[in-house]
Symmetry: C2
Subunit: 310 residues, 2 copies
């Protein structure tokens, strides 16, 4: 058992109560507080200097990213964000103006999505900036979409384009809130997640939660220009398709829907969101694991997201 | 303007919306989600290695403290905690067993107070453990107690004994949840706060929020045994009374109530909570600032909590 498996085990036996519909393990917790038509969504996430941003990242973008990551988790449940708390751990020496700009980035994005910032605590974290945001949202009762629910025969869809997020998108992505709510309102979506760890890794969460497998069509996976450019110009050897599978922080929506609804969904999507690509990248199959099909046949994707060539 | 004043200023102009009854600046945010008889309380707080605990602190107590601090904030609003999210920043090298015990400390206290842990995220914080907890609770509509509301003529009360928390209490304090709810249910409490920064500092929050001042009776302030022992035996020169005024992390309740209700409250308290001291330590007066009265007369308490002897 490795360290993160241990932590996964620990979070399985956490205390619960009658308010909890979904606890640890989905994009957000789902709580019932007795609001007549709504359930509450509850999520916390952190960004850390040196990991999610650098000393050179513009402070507005640091703040923006910290909140946008949480908003993307609310989107993954088809919810609407409402109120956030910001906790910042600050090094011993910091520029007040810099912190002001971090708050500015958080506030600008919050206003765009109607989110109230209802608390702003600071503490010390002597070696680096650490920002933790807790976000509350709502979802119409019965309209929440979980990671579980994928069924054999489902079509697998992904919004936008994947890979190469570190070139810039990880600081500027748009949480797909309106898109996710529209999906939940108009179509019986079976399972949904936001892509934070990469398509290969996050697809496995859906497969594990549903007890199913997936077959992806290589040519259908939308590879971003950034991933292609990096594969051509940078020293790293990761091919663009591998980047699309394994790069983190795309923050696009990955979801499944009955195969029979796929064409109707694609047509309606093009009318509603003409600017945002929606791609059907494969199908859910019985069993487990991920295979990738191209003109040379089917290959198995291993646990780390890389294509296994035997 | 110093750095923390800047941050205080920043948090004054944060975005809000129609769900927010109380935003940044009280012990918890108070939110209205349309639950028929209840309002929601929302709070986040962090503990950081080297500041709130050390490398030698038993891990169960680290976890316990992280949650207990948030519970104390819910208590300060007369609320009931419901669900928490745990975010842990972990150094590069850590013992899974140690993290398991931190979770154990959180979970044990959560179970005691009926709190569900609905998410447990980990991220990296290479240099030290950083634990941020977000907590949701409820309070009966109209029964929430804010920091504002103190009026000239109010009696000022404090639970327990103050000072010397670092000797051990800061890891083992009991959040005064039942006591606060009982107070709100049975008496018209005007203002309440939990003592995290020390009596002198936290009293000023109540005074500032109410636009009033306070006069404390020196002999009425309950000085803890730990503070007295430290004043006698340790090398530090802080007298025990100063420790009771200025030491942080007591996590007792400080509240005010109309002077005419004070005796009735004390009598009822002794019957309800015979084990926990409740002290009337002074009164709210018009104007501002804090004076301390003893047999030699009245002295002004300066902004840093120390008695000013001129």
């Amino acid at each position: 058992m490795n360290e993160f498996e241990l932590i996964a085990n620990l979070t399985k036996s956490l205390p619960t109560n009658q308010n909890v519909l979904v606890g640890a393990g989905d994009d957000c917790a789902v709580l019932d507080f007795g609001v007549p038509d709504k359930l509450l969504l509850f999520k916390a996430d952190a960004v850390v200097e040196g990991l999610h941003f650098t000393k050179d990242t513009p402070p507005e973008k640091i703040g923006r990213k910290a909140l946008a990551r949480c908003l993307s988790d609310i989107a993954a449940m088809a919810g609407t964000p409402t109120a956030a708390l910001v906790t910042i751990g600050l090094p011993k020496r910091f520029e007040p103006e810099f912190i002001g700009k971090i708050y500015g980035g958080i506030s600008a994005l919050a206003e765009k999505f109607g989110v109230a910032i209802v608390g702003g605590e600071t503490t010390a974290n002597p070696d680096r900036i650490f920002i933790s945001i807790a976000l509350l949202g709502t979802v119409l009762r019965g309209k929440q979409i979980l990671r579980s629910g994928a069924k054999a025969g489902d079509a697998i869809f992904v919004t936008g384009e994947l890979g190469g997020s570190l070139a810039g998108k990880h600081l500027e992505f748009e949480p797909r809130l309106a898109e996710a709510r529209w999906l939940a309102e108009h179509f019986p979506i079976h399972a949904m997640i936001d892509l934070s760890d990469g398509l290969a890794g996050d697809l496995r969460h859906i497969l594990k939660a549903g007890g199913v497998g997936a077959e992806l069509l290589k040519t259908a996976v939308p590879v971003s220009r950034a991933a292609k450019l990096q594969a051509r110009t940078s020293a790293r050897t990761k091919p663009a398709f591998t980047a699309a599978l394994t790069d983190g922080e795309d923050f696009e929506l990955l979801f499944t829907i009955a195969g029979g609804d796929a064409v109707k969904l694609l047509d309606a999507w093009k009318r509603e969101f003409p600017e945002l690509k929606l791609s059907c990248i494969g199908k859910i199959v019985a069993g487990g694991g991920v295979t990738i099909r191209d003109k040379n046949g089917a290959r198995t994707l291993n646990e780390h997201g890389y294509v296994h060539f035997t």
